[in-house]
């Protein structure tokens, strides 16, 4: 009778030893990999991961975790016992926090060469998957009817004619709002950006609390009073795709000045049992096959330069030549101060 407990003890020791060895190398192929992301990514994902499952036999389980901020926070809070194998959806504004908390395991994707140097993370802690540009949109019909020229730089916008026709979002409550504030900091520098905003304030710029209000309430296209609204470079194609009867040309256009680029990254969560399979999943997300589905699924642009854009994106929008972008560390360090300074100027 005493033999049984001894065997169990031995098994236990062996098991502990095996667990101890693990971490560097993956011993088996998992049935399922979990990918945690923000709600908007997960809810639209549909069958975009089917090809990966067919190829590798691994199912991909997607877990939505709120907005981008909530996602990163959840990953940090659960870093001792990660919620998933891979995280997707961290952008520049939350990246440095995630990096500082050491939640990622570095990984250099086999497909990383297809991505523009500028988008990549220097230590390959995370892998860029897509980017989106926050840009001013204008109502084409309104500008035609009122016989006005569309402004083509930020200085032009401070003209009271245009400023009073412009709606931007509040940087404290809206992510495109914050992105545009960062754009003005990138364009005018720490010394000049607040002066530009002061001019906009005096010339009557409208401020909305969120993208939703700006676009669906304040935009002339939806019955509001602003013909220029801070939105996305992908909004005009969306206006064509999600129209009751798709028009020949998009009813809205993009102003290339003042665009800000947001890059979204994927990373392997430190502590995963399956680092190798997780790497394969990231390779897949950067493959042409997956990347070409990105525009029409999530309305952002593929990071892989070999991926072809769908015709709607070619015809109705433009990828800005030189969008503004700030380093993740700089954003993390100064964001709170910048927002408060902005509030000081705009709200007195």
């Amino acid at each position: 009778m005493r033999l049984i407990p001894r065997i169990s003890t031995a098994t236990l020791v062996l098991a502990v030893a095996l667990v101890g060895c693990q971490g560097e190398e993956q011993t088996e192929i998992p049935e399922t990999l979990t990918l945690i992301s923000h709600d908007s990514f997960v809810e639209s994902a549909g069958d975009t991961f089917d090809a990966f499952t067919t190829e590798t036999g691994i199912e991909v389980e997607l877990i939505p975790a709120g907005d981008a901020g909530s996602l990163v926070n959840q990953a940090i809070l659960s870093k001792d016992n990660p919620l998933a194998d891979v995280l997707f959806g961290v952008d520049d504004s939350f990246l440095s926090r995630a990096v500082n908390e050491e939640i990622f395991e570095a990984y250099e994707s086999a497909n990383i060469d297809t991505v523009d140097e500028d988008l990549r993370h220097e230590d390959n802690l995370v892998t860029p998957i897509d980017f989106g540009d926050v840009c001013f949109n204008y109502d084409k019909e309104w500008f035609d009817q009122n016989d006005l020229e569309v402004p083509n730089d930020l200085d032009g916008l401070t003209d009271p004619t245009y400023a009073s026709l412009t709606t931007v979002e509040h940087p404290a409550t809206s992510s495109p709002g914050l992105a545009f504030v960062l754009a003005t900091i990138d364009v005018y520098g720490e010394d000049g950006w607040l002066d530009w905003w002061a001019e906009m304030r005096d010339a009557g710029v409208n401020i909305a609390n969120d993208w939703n209000t700006a676009y669906y309430s304040d935009f002339t296209r939806y019955g509001g009073g602003s013909s220029i609204v801070m939105s996305y470079a992908s909004s005009p194609p969306a206006e064509v795709i999600f129209a009751d009867e798709p028009p020949e040309t998009a009813p809205t256009g993009v102003i290339e000045a003042g665009c800000y680029r947001q890059v979204e990254f994927a990373g392997i969560l430190d502590g995963t049992e399956y680092p190798e399979s997780a790497g394969e999943l990231i390779d897949y997300m950067l493959s042409v096959e997956f990347q070409e589905q990105i525009p029409l699924t999530w309305f952002v642009f593929p990071a892989n330069q070999d991926a072809e854009l769908p015709p709607e994106f070619v015809e109705h929008t433009a990828i800005p030549e030189s969008p503004a972008r700030l380093a993740a560390d700089e954003i993390a360090e100064n964001r709170e101060r910048w927002i408060n300074e902005w509030i000081g100027v705009m709200e007195g």
Partner: protein, 516 residues
């Protein structure tokens, strides 16, 4: 003589375990983690803190008072009279309560009510009228009319009767409704963000900002504690008050509704139509925007981005049924414990059950993330969604059943005991059947809360099945007429579903009573 009452243990165990595991334990874990400096951020914002705290308190108080004023006429009408469309009116008044804040915010913005304290207060009233109407009318309609008649005979005017008799008898229900409205508005989040912007931040908004945007967990935890202390204080006062004013009188078995005549008829007409029109104005903007295209048909088409939006209805229903069952069972057991035991312990238990309503969604959501991987990892499972919904719904079940349970005369239970019923049988044969009707009111609330819930669950990792509110949010956050129209159409579907469910439950309830 002191025996362990196993019956009581059996009744008390499920609610204690549930609230302990899904609320107290995660709450303690996240607060401890926050205060032990996981990461240090910028602090020193006392002035803002005081401003935020003060704003939170006064807007909640004013919102509660205004809600009662707005709900008064309709509550009077549906509690005193039977008239055509009474049940429909009650169902319609419940609709705003379930609509996601983002939808209501959009409707208010469309009406030009943006960025003002007036808009915030109006939205709070709009959301919470149902809480007052339903909670108070449940008790009001069952007051023995002879009590009021007795007062009339003693020389009291109609006004005196209302002021000195009816209102006094209604105190427990009024206190219950007020506490819920106060908690809801005290922890208001979406309404404040959409209609108030950065200038009007409640503690809830500030906790979100500190925790999610700035990741200053120590400050967020400190704020969460301030919020908890404030909420507990209000609740403690409330439970003392309720205990002091609880009067036991024999409730009528059925409701005492008359047909309105003469002046009362005009009054009922104005009260009902006036309230419904006021509530319908924001709702009508949703409807009118949803019918300008083929958006309802579009809900059934496979959208390249969000899938078939109509599927979200099924997901929502499944979650709502699970959450309702959970909340009703736990809530009725909890109410039994609360009313069966007097004293501090039961008061604190009652208070703890109410606390989730007054705890910020971020705190609960993040608490789940750090705590619920033990003993089994529940963090990303299906169980989490109904559990989170139930947490918010249980207080409604408890609040709607406690007054009824308290009003059961002790003699009724004694009679059963003398006739040979063990303590468990007394509960099974007396308390449970009597409370089940009031429990249905709570269940109706639980169901619609789950249908519309967009709070705590948006901060937890969860299974990838979109519910109606998340689908609406998703549609609303992308450009294009169709997206907007579909979001409005889905909102109307949610509103219709709410009204239908509430009406069905009301009917079942009254059918069982046999009064109609």
């Amino acid at each position: 003589m002191k025996r362990i009452r196993w019956g009581w243990v059996a009744v008390a165990a499920p609610p204690v375990i549930f609230i302990g595991y899904f609320f107290v334990y995660p709450l303690i874990r996240i607060l401890v983690l926050g205060l032990s400096e996981l990461s240090v951020g910028a602090s020193g914002v006392e002035a803002r803190l005081i401003r935020v705290g003060w704003f939170t308190l006064w807007q909640a108080t004013v919102s509660t008072v205004l809600t009662f004023l707005a709900a008064g006429p309709l509550t009077w009408a549906v509690s005193s009279f039977e008239f055509k469309g009474r049940r429909l009116a009650m169902a319609l008044a419940t609709v705003p309560f379930v609509l996601p804040t983002v939808v209501v915010g959009t409707a208010f913005v469309a009406l030009g009510w943006q960025e003002s304290i007036g808009a915030i207060l109006a939205a709070h009233v709009f959301f919470n009228v149902a809480v007052v109407v339903r909670t108070v009318s449940t008790l009001w309609s069952r007051i023995d009319p002879r009590i009021q008649e007795a007062a009339r005979v003693l020389g009291a005017s109609e006004w005196d009767v209302f002021w000195r008799i009816t209102l006094r008898l209604l105190r427990p229900a009024i206190a219950a409704a007020a506490s819920i409205v106060f908690l809801f508005t005290f922890t208001s989040f979406g309404v404040i963000l959409i209609l108030g912007g950065f200038r009007y931040a409640t503690l809830e908004v500030e906790i979100y900002r500190q925790a999610v945007t700035l990741f200053d967990l120590p400050l967020a935890a400190a704020l969460a504690i301030v919020q908890l202390v404030g909420v507990s204080g209000a609740l403690y006062w409330y439970s003392r008050y309720q205990e002091r004013t609880a009067v036991s009188w024999t409730l009528e078995r059925g409701t005492n509704l008359r047909r309105p005549k003469g002046r009362a008829r005009t009054g009922v007409l104005f009260a009902t139509l006036g309230t419904l029109i006021a509530l319908a104005i924001p709702l009508s903007t949703l409807v009118s925007r949803s019918v300008t295209g083929t958006y309802y048909q579009a809900l059934f088409r496979d959208d390249p981005v969000v899938g078939v939006p109509a599927h979200s209805v099924l997901n929502s229903l499944v979650f709502a049924v699970a959450a309702t069952l959970l909340a009703t069972i736990i809530g009725v057991l909890a109410a039994t414990v609360i009313t069966g035991r007097s004293g501090e312990l039961s008061r604190w238990f009652d208070l703890t059950l109410m606390l989730p309503l007054g705890t910020s969604a971020v705190t609960i959501g993040f608490g789940f993330i750090v705590a619920l991987d033990w003993p089994v990892d529940l963090r990303a499972t299906r169980w989490l969604v109904p559990a989170a919904h139930a947490l918010v719904a249980i207080p409604f079940v408890v609040r709607s059943t406690v007054p009824t349970l308290r009003s059961v005369p002790a003699e009724t239970r004694d009679a059963a005991r003398v006739l040979g019923a063990s303590p468990f049988r007394v509960w099974r044969e007396i308390d449970l059947p009597i409370v089940s009707r009031a429990g249905m009111v709570g269940a109706a609330f639980a169901f619609v809360i789950s249908l519309g819930e967009f709070g705590a669950t948006s901060f937890v990792a969860r299974p990838a099945s979109a519910t109606i509110p998340t689908m609406i949010f998703r549609l609303l956050s992308r450009p294009g007429q169709t997206s907007f129209g579909m979001a409005m159409a889905l909102s109307v579907v949610l509103a219709g579903l709410t009204a239908a469910v509430v009406m069905a439950i009301d009917r079942a309830r009254f059918g069982e009573l046999g009064s109609f």
